[in-house]
């Protein structure tokens, strides 16, 4: 093959590769900042009340694709705390505009020491939201604590904040979590 033809081919291949490579770059774009817990074993405090206790438990530990068994993260049941802790709560927070809130309260550099997930019963208990919707919100808030960002590109993940019908992480979330920890 003539060198000129080879170079033209390589230029074309390089251009196509650049185009096709963009999705790879955005694959990691659903990571939330640089934040993560110090390691994959995280103290887990379920401060939920009523069925919210069950919902948090299912999303964190007991569903087949809950965060703890589905990813490399291991949630160690614990009392509430502020060191390497993920704490989960529900409450009547009022007309705030949000159904759920994830807060990384104590960070050192990129290391999270204290994360809190909150579910707003003022909305979630008003009869407009199914149990699946509540599980979706709980799943997402807990996912944020572990370092995941919203993902509006998939309808199969609870990290999508435009739907409330996918109460579980998907394989992309699992792979991303496992690459972080």
């Amino acid at each position: 093959m003539k060198l000129r033809h080879a170079i033209l081919t390589w230029v074309a291949v390089f251009g196509i590769a650049i185009f096709l490579g963009q999705p790879l770059g955005t694959w990691a774009a659903h990571r939330w900042g640089c934040w993560k817990y110090a390691d994959a074993t995280i103290n887990w405090y379920n401060g939920g009340t009523g069925d919210y206790f069950n919902i948090y438990n299912e999303e964190a530990k007991t569903d087949s694709n809950a965060w703890s068994p589905y990813t490399d993260i291991f949630l160690q049941p614990s009392s509430s705390g502020t060191t390497d802790h993920a704490n989960a709560y529900n409450g009547f927070y009022g007309s705030t505009g949000w159904l759920g809130l994830a807060e990384l309260r104590s960070v050192s550099g990129c290391t999270v020491r204290n994360g809190r997930a909150r579910l707003n019963q003022s909305y979630l208990d008003n009869g407009s939201y199914s149990r699946t919707n509540k599980k979706h919100v709980a799943c997402q808030e807990v996912g944020h604590l572990f370092g995941l960002e919203h993902n509006r590109g998939s309808s199969t993940t609870c990290m999508n904040d435009t739907i409330l019908t996918a109460p579980q992480p998907n394989t992309h979330d699992r792979d991303l979590i496992n690459s972080i920890y």
Partner: protein
């Protein structure tokens, strides 16, 4: 050039291209979003997430261009098990331009989560764009509380700070925020007014 060598080099070129592209895409994203935090971070599942600006303009109770003039501590909400305290603050705004055309609201009050909890801890929440800076002006899309006397910002799509004569959205990649982000103030206001007028007629 032998066919085998050509194929090997072609594969190498393709891998280089993929790697460069992926790295550039990730770097661009990280430049925009990954910052080492000096305080805490927050994210929310909003009750309303709009797909386009028309829906947001139509849905909210009030749209104002307003200047933040005061912040005061508000209520503290506790989790149902009583262990977790979430403080709120009340931010007062002087209305500069009321797009919704309501009169008699020279000062409006917006409640948002954040402030100092009962243990004296400073709670910084930025899911809505973070603390309002006193003296700065904002275009705000607000709803009235069903259970309180204040307004609340409808979500992170509902705040645009005025900087250098232009609006700055909270998430500039959001499909609704893109509509106003970086747009000159007068032009942005005019567009919002037109959309609101259209919504009122319908």
């Amino acid at each position: 050039m032998k066919r085998k060598n050509f194929l090997i080099l072609t594969i190498l070129v393709a891998l280089c291209g993929l790697s460069v592209s992926a790295m550039l895409g990730l770097q661009q994203h990280q430049d925009e979003k990954v910052q080492v935090p000096s305080r805490s971070k927050s994210a929310a599942v909003w009750k309303e997430v709009y797909k386009n600006p028309d829906d947001m303009v139509k849905s909210v109770d009030t749209i104002v261009l307003a200047q933040a003039i005061d912040r005061q501590p508000g209520r503290i909400a506790y989790s149902s098990n009583g262990e977790d305290a979430l403080p709120f603050e009340i931010v007062a705004f002087r209305v500069v331009d009321d797009i919704t055309g309501k009169k008699g609201e020279g000062i409006i009050y917006v409640e948002r989560a954040g402030g100092t909890d009962d243990a004296g801890n400073q709670v910084y929440l930025d899911a809505d764009g973070g603390d309002f800076e006193i003296g700065n002006s904002y275009l705000l899309f607000l709803k009235r509380q069903e259970d309180g006397p204040y307004y609340y910002q409808v979500n992170d799509q509902g705040r645009y700070q005025v900087e250098g004569g232009r609006f700055k959205g909270v998430d500039k990649d959001d499909p609704v925020s893109v509509f106003l982000h970086n747009r000159p103030v007068e032009e942005g206001l005019q567009m919002v007014k037109e959309k609101r007028n259209k919504a009122d007629k319908n």
